[in-house]
């Protein structure tokens, strides 16, 4: 599946689009963390909650539960939420 990542994660992932696999969103994120160490904890906190200023969309639908299943042809988009100042 394709995983789109925001500019905020560029120092970890190095690209805006990478291929990944996994049966759940968490498996996808853990796979990314093996390739790009530390990136999962920048998206998910220690209680396995999506960080307050991060949004994850699977096929255009916002997903909060990282145990949710994902498919090989799904499109995952990770977004830095509007915030700042």
């Amino acid at each position: 599946m394709n995983v789109h990542s925001p500019s905020q994660l560029r120092s970890y992932i190095g690209a805006s689009l990478v291929e990944a696999d996994g049966a759940t969103l968490d498996e996808v994120l853990r796979g990314l963390d093996r390739r790009y160490p530390g990136v999962r904890f920048r998206i998910i906190d220690e209680q396995d909650r999506v960080r307050e200023q991060i949004r994850i969309f699977v096929n255009g639908e916002q997903e909060f539960d990282i145990t949710s299943p994902v498919g090989a042809r799904d499109e995952i988009v990770i977004v830095g939420a509007l915030s700042g100042g």
């Binding site: 905020q8 906190d45 220690e46 209680q47 960080r51 830095g80 915030s83 700042g84």
Partner: protein, 391 residues
């Protein structure tokens, strides 16, 4: 480089090296290098531009390792580490994080790492970190990996001591002022806003409140509680580690540890000034000389310089009398303040004092506060300054 803030008795000697200021701001870290006279200063490029740096600290044990407590914008809290005196930086491989909660429980998440303290001189790779919400973390490998100190973070009294999420400062309740007794690595103090000062004599396994004599941040009926206070910054004196000072939300205090009782030395401040502020600085060579920076704590607590006239106050007699030091600071219309980590001193003789403002100015004094000069400006909102010197 050596850290100049008093952490061990060794740092109480005056030195002659050039002073370097490590500056943590809302938008990154900066290094400000002074010349030998401390009159000319050179600012580095920003480090981790865009990250909020709450604390930027040099390890006094090796003079090269630096840690920065950072919130990387959208990406949450972490710690960055440099082993070449700030030239290159790498993120901790396991940043401070609370223990994963059991199924069905909410669990705590670190919002930001607020405080960093190098460990005891006998433990070269040990560091402590304090977080928002209040959590205590320890690294045994120089800041690469961090573990929660279970004796505090998982203590069944933790939520009662801290008052929970709603009982904290506007940008979140936090742990700060992690102090280590230079004579005993197992003897620790912590400060919490809110929660109060707590002490451990077994390296963090157990904790007891140490707030007797300290006023409560707001009026409450009945006897004062043992905890729930709001210390803004606490320090122990390197020459007399049983002498503690704190700038609290409710005044300025001193304690001789054997008395286990805080004395409100801020009551000797001019009444029109009051004794509210964030930072407190101790003179490393003199246990009776203390500086504070006052702020407006009236009505709705503007937390700005009272009347728009910033000033430092100093005592040379342990708080019996206080003297205003504002020569060179703006005389009017300066509505900034100085946060709890944003005032510090070097170890030169005469001592240099430094303060960083919420409007991004750095002020310095080379005569122990007698006069002040602007040494850098146009920085982001300043959270922290540490003064260090080439070894």
């Amino acid at each position: 480089m050596v850290a100049t803030q008093p952490r061990t008795a060794k740092t109480s000697k005056s030195s002659t090296g050039n002073v370097v200021l490590l500056v943590g701001t809302k938008k990154g870290g900066f290094i400000l290098r002074g010349n030998s006279s401390r009159r000319a200063w050179t600012l580095s490029d920003p480090i981790l531009l865009g990250s909020t740096v709450h604390h930027f600290v040099l390890d006094p044990r090796d003079g090269r390792t630096m840690l920065m407590a950072a919130v990387t914008g959208h990406l949450g809290p972490t710690v960055f580490r440099s082993t070449d005196a700030g030239k290159t930086w790498k993120e901790a491989s396991r940043p401070p994080a609370f223990k994963k909660a059991s199924e069905g429980e909410a669990g705590l998440s670190v919002k930001h790492v607020f405080w960093l303290t190098p460990g005891h001189a006998s433990e070269p790779n040990v560091w402590y970190a304090g977080s928002s919400p209040q959590g205590l973390f320890r690294s045994d490998d120089g800041g690469v990996t961090w573990e929660g100190v279970a004796g505090f973070n998982e203590n069944p009294m933790r939520e009662t001591w801290t008052g929970g999420a709603q009982d904290g400062t506007p940008d979140g309740p936090k742990m700060h002022s992690i102090l280590i007794d230079p004579r005993d690595k197992r003897h620790l103090y912590i400060g919490m806003s809110s929660g109060g000062i707590f002490e451990s004599t077994d390296e963090g396994t157990s904790w007891a409140p140490l707030n007797k004599g300290c006023d409560f941040p707001y009026p409450i009926p009945g006897p004062l509680p043992e905890f729930g206070h709001d210390p803004h910054r606490a320090m122990l004196h390197p020459l007399m580690p049983d002498l503690l000072y704190q700038q609290n939300h409710a005044g300025i205090y001193r304690m001789e540890r054997k008395d286990a009782q805080w004395t409100r030395i801020g009551k000797n401040m001019p009444p029109e000034v009051g004794d509210i502020g964030f930072p407190i600085v101790l003179r490393p060579r003199d246990p009776k000389t203390v500086w504070v920076f006052h702020m407006d704590g009236t009505d709705v607590w503007p937390r700005t310089s009272p009347g728009g006239k910033p000033a430092v106050y100093v005592t040379n007699d342990g708080g019996e009398t206080w003297r205003r030091q504002a020569n060179g600071l703006p005389k009017a219309n300066a509505w900034w303040t100085v946060l709890r980590q944003a005032m510090t001193c070097d170890s030169r003789d005469p001592l240099g004092l430094y303060l960083g403002t919420t409007t991004g100015q750095l002020w310095g004094s080379t005569d122990e506060g007698g006069s002040w000069r602007l040494i850098a400006e146009h920085l982001p909102h300043i959270y922290a300054i540490e003064a260090v010197e080439p070894r």
